[in-house]
């Protein structure tokens, strides 16, 4: 009757172990880990680097005579940030931001500005939110969207700089 899987009175451990050895570990363990993280749910487990950048955000402020400026908002949450850059010889010599946003937004913006500072424009343009997140040592899954804001602002400020620069050149 095909009941081979169900061995009455056999040790459960056998089955579980078999499971472990064969498919479970291979097929499920990595996924499971990922799933766990994804499903830590709405309560956020920020790591220490993130907390540090949130409580002591770097490069906060404004640059009155900035070379590039951007205001970006996240339509999903209504949060927004402003970012200013100063560029000398193609290098970002100063960068400042202000943020009306969640801890994820503040920390990622802080890290984004840190990464961009002293970088050539070309290099700064290559920065992605993944760079920011990995520099922070990770961020909760449902806060990934926040990290986009800092990067988007950086890129927008660079575009702003380039547009103005292009104008001057023209």
């Amino acid at each position: 009757m095909g009941e081979k899987n169900i061995v009455l009175c056999a040790s459960q451990t056998d089955v579980i172990m078999k499971t472990d050895n064969h498919d479970w570990k291979k097929a499920y363990a990595p996924a499971a880990q990922h799933e766990l993280e994804e499903h830590q749910g709405p309560v956020l487990f920020y790591n220490e680097i993130v907390i540090d950048h949130f409580t002591n955000p770097r490069n906060v402020g404004e640059i009155p005579d900035a070379d590039g400026y951007a205001l970006v908002g996240d339509p999903s949450c209504g949060d927004q940030m402003k970012l200013w850059i100063k560029v000398e010889n193609g290098i970002i010599t100063d960068i400042k931001f202000k943020s009306f946003g969640c801890p994820g937004a503040i920390a990622t913006s802080s890290m984004a500005t840190t990464l961009a500072l002293a970088k050539p424009i070309a290099a700064a343009k290559q920065l992605t939110d993944d760079d920011v997140i990995s520099a922070l040592g990770g961020i909760p899954e449902n806060k990934r969207h926040c990290s986009l804001m800092g990067i988007a602002a950086l890129h927008a400020a660079i575009r702003d700089y380039e547009t103005k620069h292009a104008c001057f050149a023209a």
Binding site: G41, Y46, F54, V60, G78, M81, F97, K98, S99, F100
Partner: protein
């Protein structure tokens, strides 16, 4: 680090006296209330005693109390149960736009199943105007469901007026009284409504128990079918320890309610006064009208609530933004938006819900700390 817990509307610590009443039902009296022997009888007796207690406190008959696993389940049973029982009578439901998700999302689901729902607006203080209820009534209205007191703002609805309107039209009236029961005096259930939802873990009882008051004769179908538990209205082996604990917690809550309400209202008012004094540009949502005494909802302009909360948390202070079960939603509270807050005001809203453990010192600490936090966040805010 000292802990200050101001999130009692999300959940409360279990009263140690309540835990004591529960323990025997984990140990010696572990029986299934449906079992035919002494262990069953012990459990059954405890279950029916708990039902008696809750019924008495509500002004209801024991038979009118159905124990559920949570108020969410009670709300679902109320709404889905009435809709199913009256499906040949009508499909229109009246509710408000500020209900708890357990009602709101259930209404949305029922909409997909062919019901029509009127979501009433609220005024700037978060109250439903009873006249809008009257006007919304149709010939096929089968149910009016309006919460008693709001979990986010604490605002109390003109529930007696709405009740009267429902009764005069012979329409079933349900109220989610989770945040009212045990915090303020409430009229006897049978005078107020046909259905009322309660939750145990909001009144220092255990998680895993809730109740639906169902006035005798109210047409309702079960949500969970199976054995003949709970008068056939809710199948599943009864969670005896939790139900016993719920009843004990309800007794304590009602007994302590008078004194505690006065004490908490004073502390809450103190918190509000201190904040108004020391933090510019705040608004207190729902302040103009009657609220449950333990709750205040404060919008700090130009800052984002989650950032306030994380700063508080790092200092050992627990509060929340909106209801716990919308934590992680990036959108601002549907409740504050419905009250006419700007998205920015809504984004900066923090709920402080006080409770038994709250002291004047806690309040002073929190006010002082908040002053600094808000100053700091505003200094980096792009909209300040």
């Amino acid at each position: 680090m000292p802990m200050i817990y101001l999130d009692h509307n999300a959940t409360t610590p279990l009263d140690p006296r309540v835990l004591k009443t529960m323990l025997p039902f984990f140990k010696k009296s572990f029986g299934n209330p449906s079992s035919y022997h002494r262990h069953g009888r012990e459990a059954r007796e405890a279950l029916e005693k708990a039902r008696h207690t809750v019924a008495h406190l509500l002004g209801a008959m024991p038979r009118e109390i159905v124990f559920t696993s949570s108020a969410t389940e009670a709300n679902n049973l109320a709404l889905r149960g009435v809709v199913r029982a009256l499906r040949n009578k009508g499909r229109h439901i009246i509710t408000s736009s500020i209900e708890h998700h357990a009602v709101l999302k259930t209404c949305r689901a029922l909409e997909q199943d062919g019901c029509q729902i009127t979501f009433l607006p609220v005024d700037g203080c978060g109250r439903v105007d009873p006249n809008t209820v009257s006007r919304a009534i149709r010939r096929d209205t089968i149910l009016i469901t309006i919460m008693y007191a709001h979990n986010e703002t604490g605002v109390i609805q003109p529930i007696s007026d709405i009740s009267r309107i429902a009764r005069s039209h012979n329409i079933i009236f349900h109220t989610d009284a989770v945040q009212a029961f045990g915090k303020i005096p409430i009229p006897p259930a049978r005078e107020l409504c046909d259905l009322m939802s309660l939750s145990s873990h909001k009144i220092y009882g255990p998680k895993g128990a809730g109740a639906l008051y169902i006035k005798r004769g109210t047409p309702i179908s079960p949500l969970l079918t199976g054995g003949h538990h709970e008068h056939g209205l809710r199948a599943g082996t009864e969670n005896v320890p939790a139900i016993v604990g719920f009843a004990a917690a309800a007794e304590h809550a009602v007994k302590d309610c008078g004194k505690e309400a006065v004490r908490l209202a004073a502390l809450r008012n103190r918190l509000e006064a201190l904040l108004i004094d020391s933090v510019p540009d705040i608004s207190i949502n729902g302040k103009g009208v009657e609220r449950i005494p333990n709750t205040t909802n404060v919008s700090f302009l130009s800052v984002e609530s989650e950032s306030v909360l994380l700063h508080l948390d790092l200092l050992g202070i627990c509060a929340s933004a909106g209801s716990a079960c919308t934590t992680g939603d990036p959108e601002p509270s549907h409740v504050l938006l419905a009250m006419g807050c700007t998205p920015q005001q809504a984004q900066g809203a923090v709920r402080f819900s006080l409770g038994k453990s709250t002291t004047a010192r806690d309040i002073d600490t929190v006010a002082a700390v908040l002053t600094d936090i808000v100053k700091k966040l505003r200094s980096i805010s792009s909209v300040a």
